[in-house]
Amino acid sequence: MQWGMLLMIAVGALLIYLAIRHKFEPLLLLPIGFGAILTNIPLAGMSDAGGMLYYIYEVGISTGVFPLLIFLGVGAMTDFSAVLGNPKMFILGAAAQFGIFATLIGAIALNWVPGMSFTLEQAAAIAIIGGADGPTAIYLSSQLAPELLGAIAVAAYSYMALVPVIQPPIMRLLTSKAERQIKMEQLKPVSKKAKILFPLMVLILTALLLPTATPLVGMLCLGNLLRESGVVERLSNAAQNEIINVVTIFLGLAVGAQLSATSFLNVQTLGILLLGAVAFVIGTAAGVLMAKLMNVLSKDPINPLLGAAGVSAVPMAARVVNKEGLAANPQNFLLMHAMGPNVAGVLGSAVAAGILLALVG
């Protein structure tokens, strides 16, 4: 037991090291790592009933409120112009979600491995790592498999930080240099009215097609409406700053507090880490292949690299796409175009989470 705790403190320290030294998603991994250390200090009891981390978890995570507030802030920080100016990009954001559902099958298949055992709920919570979106992953696992929350959050944020390592080989493997050199047409400008109506349209579609995705999608849309409406700047700023910053500290601590030795040091965690990597790889590949297909079918040329941005991991994946585009042709700036599938991927994985909640939850 003591050894387990010591090991978990080392894991926490490792996360902090990666956050500070290698800038691995520091906003989340630093508080998560610190929470992991705090929760594993024997006799300190910070995660026991009456301890501070216990209260934070009960108030913010088991109710699902903290990830939803992060989504509110993300909505207020997200500019959907890139995808509104080229709506076909939504399809790339859809394709990359294949990483989620393929991983779901993988998690169930892992049950054949002796010692591994995942329920359908757990498999769904693990699979959402493929959505490459932290708050979605935390929200879904708090609802479906809270016992895996710590490992899933750590895997999700770690792989998001590793996107510049994971994605490029797959992108190069699946594309020719000629394809990577394809230049995109200028994005269409988007009117203010369209930007205001967009979050409301998404909300209505969600209500009609997938009501269980309403909490996540709804908060995202509210944040975006606060931003784009132009009449509530105070509230938009509060969502982008005060709310998201404060909640991030508490969310990170409370997620870290789930990294107890008993819940993390087991073979399931290995499975989660493995499946998370698989999810990112498959999602990336699915996005790229879909972009290739669209390039064939569409009359406007589409650079297949853009598909990789569909996994979300905003804005890292878009930057990776840009970098690979520049490597193929120093004049080929893809950043703004890649923001399209990138933000579409956020919506895509929120939709996928809604489906999993509806069918598995």
Binding site: F90, I105, T206, A352
Partner: protein, 76 residues
Amino acid sequence: MTSMLLDAVTLMLIGMATVFCFLLVLTGCVSLLTRMAPEQASPAKQPQSAGNSPNSAHMAAIASAVAQYRKSRHSN
């Protein structure tokens, strides 16, 4: 075990179908939306993009207020 795998495969099929369906409908709606509410003349764009970064908008507002105030003062 095999039944769970079947469940998972079914989930995948329904899931990907729904995701695609949702985002395809959204693609259509957004196309319609941007066609029905097209971006107008360029001067309208400037203030809007400023509105996105509220602090700079603030600063700009203050700066312009100061400028206007000075102008009005000097002209009197």
